[in-house]
């Protein structure tokens, strides 16, 4: 085990897979010579050379389109979109082309590629550089969607994403890049589609993702120590495939669900989880399902404002208390 930051784990995951498989190639803006604007890919150019680690122009449609064409002809590209908000400039390639073409061609084409991006708020970057858009991807059939919360998961899930024969949207939460954690030094691969119970509890299930996982854990500590409420915290990790089994098992025991997401209010993944539970575990429920989200607003820039609107540990505690009271 090594102590690595979340950002270092990105590089480790990519490097592990590039060493293993010559068909893995990597492209994006300022990723090669400069090592990425978040410094997540430092050293890859030096190790793997300019044929495999390539800088691109500011042409997101070309980046994603090239990754798509390369993946359907034998390569396994990893493409970086600098901020996940920018998926909007190449959404056709992602949502209409990559996601649909296997199905439309009766299974003839495969797209073993990974689209990585820095996702989420908390960095005072304002409304166009702070969105959590994993819900955009989840709404599109044909895309797998992953968002790790720890350095170890970054490495393991990224490796699994590269090996996966389907297109994977890999969301790195930019507010987590600096956190540290133990990461296996040897080959490390975590299967996609498996949620992790990060804290066991009896009274309420809290489902969270990425940067919301540590906040949910904080909230759970407070709930235990100050309110005597025992919260189970699930790190969803993978939205597609979704581990509904772990979710439903947990809720069937606790009888209560709170989801915590950075997405704006409407149509986030929290709504999907809530709906699944409201249909399939209805008779186990002992109270309303509560979603904690950002309000349905663009994110403001100033620190005071951004902090006021993003889900906080206190906000989670308040919601749980409201629910169990």
């Amino acid at each position: 085990m090594a102590q690595l930051t979340y950002r270092e784990a990105v590089r480790d995951g990519i490097a592990q897979e590039m060493r293993r498989d010559e068909d893995v190639v990597f492209l994006g803006e300022d990723v090669a010579a400069a090592g990425g604007v978040f410094k997540t890919t430092v050293g890859l150019l030096e190790e793997f050379g300019p044929d495999r680690v390539r800088d691109t122009p500011i042409s997101e449609q070309a980046i994603i389109g090239a990754a798509m064409g390369a993946s359907m002809t034998g390569l396994k590209p990893i493409a970086e979109i600098m901020f996940s908000d920018f998926f909007a400039v190449c959404w056709d390639l992602v949502a209409n082309q990559i996601a649909k073409t296997r199905y439309m061609t009766d299974g003839q084409c495969s797209f073993p590629l990974v689209l990585r991006s820095a996702n989420g708020g908390g960095s005072r970057f304002g409304a166009q550089h702070s969105q959590s858009v994993e819900n955009w991807a989840m709404a599109i059939p044909g895309l797998k969607v992953v968002a790790p919360s720890t350095p170890a998961d970054v490495k393991g899930l990224l490796a699994a994403s590269v090996r996966d024969p389907d297109p994977v949207m890999f969301f790195e939460q930019k507010s987590l890049y600096a956190i540290k954690g133990e990461v296996p030094e040897d080959e490390h691969v975590e299967p996609l589609g498996v949620a992790r119970v990060v804290r066991a509890g009896d009274d309420v299930t809290i489902a969270a993702l990425a940067a919301m996982v540590p906040r949910a854990l904080n909230a759970a500590e407070t709930l235990e120590s100050e309110h005597g409420v025992s919260a189970e915290v699930i790190d969803v990790r993978s939205l597609v495939p979704l581990d509904t089994k772990t979710l439903l098992d947990s809720v069937s025991r606790t009888g209560r669900l709170v989801t915590v997401e950075e997405n704006p209010r409407l149509c986030g993944w929290g709504a999907e989880l809530a709906s699944i539970v409201a249909e399939e575990a209805f008779w186990d429920l002992e109270g309303p399902i509560v979603r904690v989200t950002t309000p349905h607003i663009p994110l403001p820039s100033a620190d005071a404002l951004e902090d006021a609107v993003m889900p906080s540990a206190e906000g989670i505690v308040d919601n749980v208390i409201r629910l169990v009271d």
Binding site: A66, G74, D92, T101, G107, P141, G142
Partner: protein, 313 residues
């Protein structure tokens, strides 16, 4: 080329008989472009084309039955009805897909060329699109990208003078929508007669060779015309009659037939090919017509590489 003609003509007839559902976009009049390239391409080269891609797919070796079957939504269809007329694809023939949203397949074709370059296979990626496509962002990004990476890709703009119903000249800042932009990517400006299959063949050979030599992309503007409307039952009334007539007079099929005769090919030989083709299209039509609709279960497979469609455990 004659095969392309009868295939498109038959697709039209079937549409009029309400046997083709949804939409279909015919390339009647534009056959020389697909035929010229199809002949020049190596078997393992890649084709990327549009919704108007029946010919481009056919010339790679796909059967008439599977194309007509796909248009009619039958089990024998190339995609068993899952894609439809706008998405003909046959990976085993190098026909890497027909793309229905303008511009998207240009960078995708560049990506396939990247694989060829990376693996040093000598394959070339050929990408067909229309004049209207030159005004969308993806065109610009793909051209610049392909040039700076020096990719083995040939971009072929079939300028048929119209987007759907709007004349290209009304919405484009330059006269030749592709050729006048080549310089913006450091490329040579190339305009060819897209109705002359031999001219197309020559241009195809030159650009394919160049790409295979490692000398990078080419952008070709092939001037041509569609005899019919944009899609389905569009009668194409927005086109001046003289314009239509003058292009009909340059129909690539009779033009090339005459050239063959002039070169001394016996008319009987030409007729033999024609009647063989006519018989083949009739047979294919029958086969496709007799094919059942696809089993509904296939709607629920092949979202993922494991063959399934499940998003949960």
């Amino acid at each position: 080329m004659y095969e392309c003609r009868v295939l498109e003509q038959r697709a039209y007839d079937l549409f009029m008989q309400n046997l083709v559902k949804g939409t279909s976009h015919l390339a009647l009049g534009q056959e020389a472009v697909a035929a010229g390239f199809g002949t020049a391409m190596r078997e393992d080269d890649y084709t990327f084309c549009t919704y108007r891609g029946h010919n481009h797919t056919y010339v790679r070796g796909v059967t008439m039955t599977s194309i007509l079957g796909e248009l009619m939504g039958r089990e024998c269809g190339l995609l068993r009805g899952k894609g439809g007329s706008m998405h003909l694809t046959s990976v085993e023939n190098g026909a890497m897909g027909s793309y229905a949203i303008i511009g998207a397949h240009l960078p995708v074709a560049a990506g396939a060329a990247w694989t060829a370059q990376y693996k040093r296979t000598g394959q070339v990626s050929v990408c067909f699109f229309g004049d209207g496509t030159t005004n969308i962002g993806a065109f610009h990004e793909a051209l610049n990208f392909a040039v700076i990476w020096n990719l083995p890709v040939v971009f072929v703009c079939e300028n048929n003078l119209y987007m759907e119903y709007t004349p290209i000249g009304e919405v484009t800042a330059v006269e030749n929508p592709a050729a006048d932009r080549a310089a913006a990517y450091g490329l040579e400006s190339i305009i060819i007669d897209g109705n002359d299959v031999e001219v197309v063949y020559e241009a195809a050979c030159a650009s394919l060779d160049k790409a295979r030599r490692g000398d990078g992309p080419t952008l070709i503007e092939a001037q041509t015309y569609r005899h019919g409307g944009h899609s389905r039952a569009d009668p194409g009334k927005y086109r001046p009659d003289e314009e239509l007539q003058s292009w009909l007079a340059r129909d690539p099929i009779p033009t090339y037939r005459q050239r063959l005769l002039d070169l001394g090919v016996p008319e009987a030989a030409v007729e033999a090919i024609e009647s063989e083709t006519d018989a083949a299209i009739d047979e294919a039509t029958e086969e496709a017509r007799n094919s059942p609709p696809p089993p509904v279960e296939i709607a629920h497979i092949d979202v993922w590489a494991d063959g399934g469609a499940s998003w949960r455990n």
